[in-house]
């Protein structure tokens, strides 16, 4: 089967009012189409819609999802997404029409290249392609889902095995030999044919049909439980990772929070001690300012001219006047005596002069001035630090709300654990094959798959015996066994072959022998490693898928979005060199950040490359088909 993508058309899909991306040159799809789109313009949407066009799963979309394609803020009633493809050189146009009023979708398929001509309702791509495309996992391999890269390495997943079965057409073989597969159905038809004529045979036929119905129901239950168990386990793993990350983050935050609180406590103590010192110093007014000290000194000088107290000092003058000699040693005569008595009044005043003299003394004996500016600086600085810390504490307080999230997640995980146990218990009851365990669990053919298969075989044998079809029944069973062995052995040998080639490619892309695949089981197992980086994961996925595609009987396009974002420059170059050689057509939706090392490898190619840029313009988008614009485009991200 050869499939190519020719054109993508959007009408009223999110920001895309009316946009057509033509991936052809002279009606033929070009080898490499690079479509540059900033984040939020529609890369993921486009990938999703292309997948819906091929696997028909848009019919299962819920209303919320359908309305998510409606252009925001515009009153439009309908929208349309359309792809033009070629299947074994026959043109098909698949349209998904969105009714935004009723929140419904309708598929239309046109089998001619003329739009509107030969259009029929539904998805009808033809018998050549539909059996494979109905397998959602198959479509995800070439309309590449980035999540698949992670799943290929996840022990919970069966993606690697599924990919091999899908690409090497082994699913069709499985459909034949599986329980209730085509051989069983044919055998059932042969055994129950004409059963109406004999009452006993009719009875057996009815029982056999019921047992087949029961088996189908049990298989569906097993598939649902396995899927649920896988999802629950994945959810638990994911939640535990989140809890670990939050706990790590929260622990760091709590440590920072406690450090700040302790710092603030020290700062407060320093402020308290500096304030006490300041208060002590302020009790001495001369410490308050230099000006005050100067004023006080001036006051003391002026107070120097003040007089002596009358009651205490008059006697001194009288005694001095009566003395023969002055305190200075000169003799006191009559004339001096009169003068002392006469002028004594000039030096005498009221009694409160003592207080003033006390002030004078105090001012003269002022202690050395102590500077308070340093203390004020310390207090101010500490206050600033305290406020800053308080703001940080407040912010951290909000962030440590993650504690609530951890608690909430832990509770959810506990509930999931209950679900996990219930699912696992139900699965054990459903699939237990050991007789003793079956008896202990008290299961019957209506509740246990193994017993149901035995019951079907028993009734088939009885019916075959009654109808003389024993030989045919035995041959059918043997054919089933042979086909099953062919399938198992083919998968095993293919895996071995793919393993070697994948490891060669990984080494080539990553330029290292450190990362290798040791085994391809349900998933890919790494040699002596529990995990790899996102870029390495993607590189391994590219190496594995490109090996699968190179040997596959299908010729498919490889459609991928943001293929190089997590890769470093060296790996980007290798991926850019490797991918085109493995596919007949590559359509890449990328951001401007992926030009370096990836898109720039295609600039020099003179033909076989298209360079588109889709960017926001007003309330819609615009398309530029120009390599210079592509090279220089800067998004506003």
């Amino acid at each position: 089967m050869k499939l190519t993508l020719h054109e993508i058309q959007y009408t009223n899909i999110r920001e895309m009012k009316d946009l057509t991306i033509n991936l052809c040159d002279s009606e033929k799809p070009v080898h490499v189409s690079l479509v540059q789109m900033p984040n939020g313009v529609g890369k993921t949407t486009t990938m999703e819609l292309i997948r819906y066009c091929l696997d028909g799963t848009a019919n299962n979309l819920d209303k919320k999802k359908i309305l998510s394609f409606k252009p925001p803020g515009r009153a439009v009633k309908t929208g349309k997404f359309e792809i033009k493809i070629s299947v074994d050189n026959k043109i098909r146009i698949v349209s998904i029409k969105f009714d935004y009023e009723k929140a419904t979708v309708t598929y239309f398929t046109s089998k001619t290249s003329t739009k509107g001509g030969g259009q029929s309702r539904g998805l009808n791509l033809g018998r050549e392609i539909e059996p494979w495309l109905k397998d959602k996992d198959f479509v995800r391999l070439f309309v590449f889902d980035g999540e698949l890269a992670g799943q290929l390495l996840s022990s919970e997943s069966t993606s690697a095995e599924k990919a091999i079965n899908a690409l090497y057409l082994l699913n069709s073989l499985k459909n034949l030999f599986e329980d209730d597969g085509e051989i069983d159905q044919l055998l059932n038809d042969v055994l129950t044919e004409g059963a109406q004529t004999d009452k006993g045979i009719k009875n057996l036929s009815t029982r056999l049909r019921n047992a087949h119905r029961c088996k189908k129901k049990l298989d569906k239950l097993k598939a649902d439980l396995t899927k649920k168990l896988g999802t629950v386990k994945w959810n638990i793993g994911d939640a535990r990772d989140t809890i670990d990350k939050l706990r790590k983050k929260t622990d760091q935050l709590i440590r920072r929070y406690e450090k700040l609180i302790s710092e603030n406590s020290l700062i407060e103590k320093e402020i308290e001690s500096a304030t006490e010192d300041l208060m002590d110093k302020m009790r001495f007014p001369h410490n308050l300012s230099d000006k005050l000290v100067d004023q006080l000194k001036l006051l003391a000088t002026q107070m120097g001219t003040l007089k002596l107290p009358k009651t205490q000092s008059m006697e001194f003058f009288e005694e001095l006047a009566e003395s023969k000699e002055c305190v200075c040693g000169r003799p006191i005569g009559k004339k001096e005596k009169e003068q002392i008595k006469l002028r004594a009044k000039e030096f005498l005043t009221e009694n409160n002069i003592g207080v003033i003299n006390g002030v004078k003394t105090a001012i003269r004996n002022l202690p050395a001035q102590e500077k308070m500016a340093d203390l004020v600086k310390i207090i101010k600085k500490n206050n600033r630090l305290k406020k800053l810390n308080e703001r940080k504490i407040l912010a951290l307080d909000k962030k440590t709300k993650d504690k609530d999230k951890i608690k909430e997640l832990t509770e959810t995980v506990a509930l999931w654990r209950i679900d996990e146990k219930e699912c696992a218990d139900q699965l054990i009851m459903l699939t237990e094959k050991r007789k003793e365990e079956q008896e202990i669990m008290d299961v019957t053919w209506e509740t246990n798959i193994d017993l149901c298969i035995n019951q079907i075989e028993d009734w088939q044998n009885k019916l075959a015996e009654a109808k003389g079809n024993v030989d045919f029944k035995n041959k059918a069973m043997l054919l089933k066994e042979i086909l099953k062995q062919i399938h198992t052995e083919s998968v095993l040998r293919l895996k071995k072959n793919i393993l070697c080639k994948t490891n060669d490619k990984i080494e080539k892309i990553l330029k290292s022998k450190d990362i290798t695949i040791s085994k391809i089981g349900n998933c890919l197992s790494l040699t002596d490693r529990s995990g790899v980086s996102e870029g390495q994961k993607l590189s391994i996925a590219y190496a594995f898928l490109s090996t699968l595609f190179s040997e596959s009987p299908h010729h498919l396009p490889f459609i991928v979005d943001t293929p190089a974002a997590p890769l470093d420059l060296q790996v980007r170059r290798e991926v850019a060199e490797t991918l085109p050689s493995l596919f007949t057509q590559i359509v890449v939706f990328l951001t401007s950040g992926e030009r370096k090392g990836f898109a720039d490898r295609f600039y020099s190619k003179k033909s076989g490359c298209l360079f588109y840029t889709v960017s926001k313009s007003g309330d819609g988008v615009k398309l530029e088909k120009d390599i210079t614009f592509f090279k220089n485009f800067q998004s506003e991200e």
């Binding site: 018998r127 059996p131 494979w132 090497y168 057409l169 082994l170 069709s172 073989l173 034949l176 085509e182 051989i183 044919l186 055998l187 030989d471 045919f472 035995n474 041959k475 059918a476 069973m477 043997l478 054919l479 066994e481 042979i482 062995q485 062919i486 052995e489 083919s490 040998r493 293919l494 072959n497 040997e551 596959s552 009987p553």
Partner: protein, 60 residues
């Protein structure tokens, strides 16, 4: 012929030999039809009828 086809052909040979079954080429053609999803019900019936049962009946 692709390596994959060679691998599957070899597996068919090995399994049919192990199960002592005849008509290898026809069987291979049938498997190819099945894998390409291009077969009719009567082909399955023909294949069932072409299976050789060893004495002692089918081995489960």
């Amino acid at each position: 012929m692709k390596i994959v086809d060679k691998i599957i052909d070899k597996v068919i040979d090995d399994v049919l030999k192990k199960k002592k079954q005849p008509y290898t080429e026809e069987f291979k053609a049938f498997i190819r039809h099945v894998m390409m999803d291009n077969y009719k019900d009567y082909e399955i019936e023909d294949r069932i009828n072409a299976i050789k049962i060893r004495s002692g009946g089918t081995k489960k």
